[in-house]
């Protein structure tokens, strides 16, 4: 079944009703847990009924998985550092979560054999505060939105009384919409996961999830859900595959435009002034360390080089903390944007790290988090050094 694509849905009415696109993910996880295929599941749980606030949640209770069904595009969390150790765990993960998990695995923090990644197609997430502001600007009371999804370039909102769709392009042209990291992200289908799932490719009006099986573990999860009667499926048609490919291409195109835009912000600064450009960006850093704390690629503790080499008494124009992090992340940043989200002084870290990882990608063809390949700087044979 590996590399096969299906349309699948939960057989249970409640799971189908509460989950997105036919409730496949919920049903597959519940089945895996009840069949003892996994011990725990890591999901994002809404805080009460608030779609703008959620937290990483590990559960052993299938009923709690059902409670956590549905998408949360206003909660941009990266789950990589929340994966429980030493347990067989199912993770519902965006592509950047999956990439973070793989980077953690490369650094010996996670045993990938025990992690079942159900990767969600992702069109991006919206910062909760900005999301609320954006909805108000559109005359929508944010507290009346009961659920949302991003599909086919639209942000689709469901209020208690009606639904509304707003084009992402339109939102982003007027300065709203997805986080900068998401705008620039061109990995929308999590091909590094065990299963890649989403609604892209599903015919209009059909309540089903498009499922691509990518690994043996993915096959195990899918077959278990079918064998235990939690899921029904049919083979994805050529048309469905084509539709999915087109959505992916459209999202990639949007990302390329944004990447060019962000790149221009740097390249418009003449090369000779570029050092000052970076000095100016980092001058507000208060060295709180929050960016390191949330970084899914960072596996170091208090003995990290970025901390050990830094001395607040130093008077360098860019601190050793920031310089070391730039170097460290140029071969490991997965572009999730968590660092920028938590930065108390709004340093555009997405832009900076993207600038350096892009160079690594262009020169050495290396993309962090998409496979278990070691970073190129570790791959240089001893004889060449």
């Amino acid at each position: 079944m590996e590399n096969e694509c299906y349309l699948a849905w939960a057989t249970d009415d409640e799971m189908r009703g509460r989950g997105s696109s036919g409730g496949f993910v919920t049903a597959a996880l519940v089945a895996a847990m009840r069949s003892d295929l996994i011990d725990e599941t890591l999901v994002v749980k809404k805080r009460d009924v608030d779609i703008y606030d959620g937290y990483p949640f590990v559960t052993r209770d299938p009923e709690e998985i059902i409670e956590c069904s549905g998408s949360l595009h206003f909660v941009p969390l990266n789950l990589a550092k929340f994966v429980p150790h030493d347990k067989r765990v199912g993770v519902v993960a965006k592509p950047c979560d999956c990439r973070g998990i793989i980077e953690q695995a490369k650094r010996g923090q996670i045993d990938l054999e025990k992690v079942y990644m159900i990767g969600l197609n992702c069109g991006g997430a919206i910062h909760p505060t900005e999301g609320r502001e954006m909805l108000r600007a559109y005359g929508i009371d944010p507290d009346r939105v009961v659920s949302e999804e991003i599909s086919r370039g639209n942000l689709i909102l469901r209020m208690a009384e009606k639904g509304e769709a707003i084009e992402l392009d339109e939102l982003e042209e007027i300065g709203y919409g997805r986080r900068d990291a998401c705008k620039a992200c061109n990995i929308n289908i999590p091909t590094m996961a065990d299963l890649a799932v989403g609604n892209w490719g599903v015919p209009k009006g059909e309540e089903a999830t498009f499922v691509e099986i990518l690994t043996e573990k993915g096959e195990e999860i899918f077959e278990n859900a079918v064998d235990t009667g939690y899921v029904e499926y049919k083979r994805a048609s050529e048309k469905a595959l084509e539709r999915r490919r087109k959505v992916d291409e459209a999202m990639k195109k949007m990302a390329e435009n944004w990447r060019a835009h962000f790149d221009k912000l740097v390249t418009e600064t003449e090369a000779k002034d570029r050092l000052h450009f970076y000095i100016d960006i980092f001058k507000n850093c208060i060295h709180c360390g929050a960016c390191k704390e949330v970084c899914p690629a960072c596996a170091c503790g208090d003995d990290a080089k970025c901390i050990q080499l830094n001395d607040e008494k130093d008077v360098y124009k860019i601190s050793m903390y920031n310089l070391t992090r730039i170097l460290h992340l140029m071969d490991s940043c997965v572009g999730c944007g968590e660092c920028e989200d938590v930065c108390p002084v709004d340093i555009p870290l997405t832009l900076i790290h993207k600038r350096f990882t892009d160079r690594m990608r262009q020169k050495l063809g290396y993309i962090p988090g998409v496979d278990l390949r070691k970073p190129p700087l570790y791959e240089v044979p001893k004889s060449d050094t």
Partner: protein
């Protein structure tokens, strides 16, 4: 990167139960008793404790800010208690800073930076500048009189100032006077200080000799004291000191009774931020409030409902009024000044660095090398490291408490320690 120091404090061990505590409280004259919390806990716990005080017949509730409410006319109390939406900062055309947001209130910095991006003029007024150049202009003063002289600069601005336990009534009155025609935001260094004030923790009991018994909730009064030995002496002379904290600290060592609560991040409830917004905390523990309930306070559910009702529609609006408190004179001196930039570590007894900032000129004058230390001499002397910064000669800025210097601005002598 010093945050782990904050979270690695040792949990406090309890030595009594609720019944014992209530019995001990019943033995004290309620007028000689006080309940103090700086507000580092939820509104629900504060309200429950207030109900316990009421049950006992005690009216003394202090948040460490009581001295200002006694001295400043009531017309200004609202602005002392609660601020305004931070959006006002972001949308301001002019901002006057009487603090360093990067050091003192980092989460405020982004609003000021965004205002700057939108074209706001940012002016800082104070005894020391800000090495991150957040301001378009810096007015350096050497006395509070000089701040009064800059009054015109405050007109129609959003003025942001720090109000902390070391602020004097004279300093506060100066700020209130110069910001008559501006929007004033008084930031306080404790996470729910606004909630504590809105729940009427406004008595002035600290260091009061009449007080014989004290119930301290989630606070270390020694860490916030200007004169630590004096505060320790006062606390140790009390007939009964009950400390109800999550972590061990200096005050817990003096306590007759210790009660343990969960760390703030595990507590269920609400706080009020500096804007006056009620925010839910992230935790789910009600252990602390249950303990207070057993002593005669209020349970979580009822307390939560009361909090929401009491705090609804409370917003700071500045009232017009006159203040006749004259600024305190700092004796004229050509000498050096040590200026404290207080910060969260400062108020929690954590020494997160071991150096102070000093002017490059002073570094050259003293012929100092990077590894050298300096001696700061005031009421006593202390040896520390230094960081050279671009600041005026003879202005020394400290983010750490130096026991020798017991004022926000002190005249000092600084020499090389070698």
């Amino acid at each position: 990167m010093s945050l782990p120091k904050y979270y690695s404090r040792k949990p406090l061990r309890p030595n009594a139960d609720a019944k014992d505590v209530r019995e001990r409280l019943n033995e004290i004259d309620p007028e000689q008793m006080a309940f103090v919390s700086l507000g580092e806990t939820t509104n629900e716990e504060l309200l429950s404790l207030r109900e316990l005080a009421r049950d006992i017949g005690c009216k003394n509730l202090d948040s460490g800010f009581g001295k200002f409410f006694n001295a400043i006319p009531a017309d200004f109390h609202e602005v002392l208690r609660v601020g305004f939406p931070f959006k006002h900062i972001e949308n301001a055309s002019k901002i006057v800073l009487l603090l360093d947001p990067f050091v003192q209130y980092p989460l405020l910095a982004r609003y000021i930076l965004r205002a700057r991006e939108k074209g706001a003029e940012v002016l800082e007024v104070g005894f020391a500048g800000n090495e991150r150049y957040i301001a378009d202009e810096t007015i350096l003063v050497r006395s509070w009189d000089e701040i009064m002289g800059a009054e015109e600069s405050f007109e129609d601005a959003v003025v942001i100032c720090d109000l902390n336990p070391w602020t004097t009534v004279e300093m506060l009155s100066t700020v209130l006077r110069v910001s008559k025609r501006s929007e004033l935001l008084l930031m306080k260094p404790f996470l729910n200080a606004t909630g504590a004030l809105m729940l009427n923790y406004m008595s002035d009991v600290l260091m009061n000799e009449k007080i014989r018994a004290l119930y301290v909730l989630e606070s270390d009064l020694i860490d916030i004291a200007i004169n630590e030995p004096e505060m320790e002496n006062w606390l140790s002379k009390l007939d009964l000191l009950i400390v109800h904290n999550a972590y061990e600290s200096r005050i817990t060592k003096l306590a007759d009774i210790t009660l343990q609560s969960d760390p703030f991040y595990e507590k269920k409830g609400t706080i009020v931020n500096a804007e006056g917004r009620i925010l839910e905390t992230g935790g789910c523990s009600t252990r602390g409030i249950e303990l207070i309930e057993k002593m005669g306070g209020m349970g979580y559910k009822e307390s939560h409902e009361r909090v929401l009702n009491e705090l609804e529609d409370e917003r700071g609006t500045k009232k017009e009024g006159e203040i006749d408190i004259e600024p305190k004179e700092i004796p004229e001196s050509e000498g050096a000044l040590l200026v404290y930039k207080t910060n969260p570590f400062f108020w929690h007894g954590i020494r997160h660095k071991n150096f102070i900032d000093m002017s490059v000129d002073n570094v050259r004058d003293m012929g100092l090398n990077r590894e050298d230390n300096i001696k700061v001499i005031c009421d006593g002397e202390e040896e520390v490291g230094f960081k050279p910064v671009e600041s005026p000669r003879d202005i020394f800025v400290s983010e750490i408490k130096l026991p020798a210097c017991k004022d926000l601005i002190s005249h000092v002598r600084v020499t090389s320690s070698s």
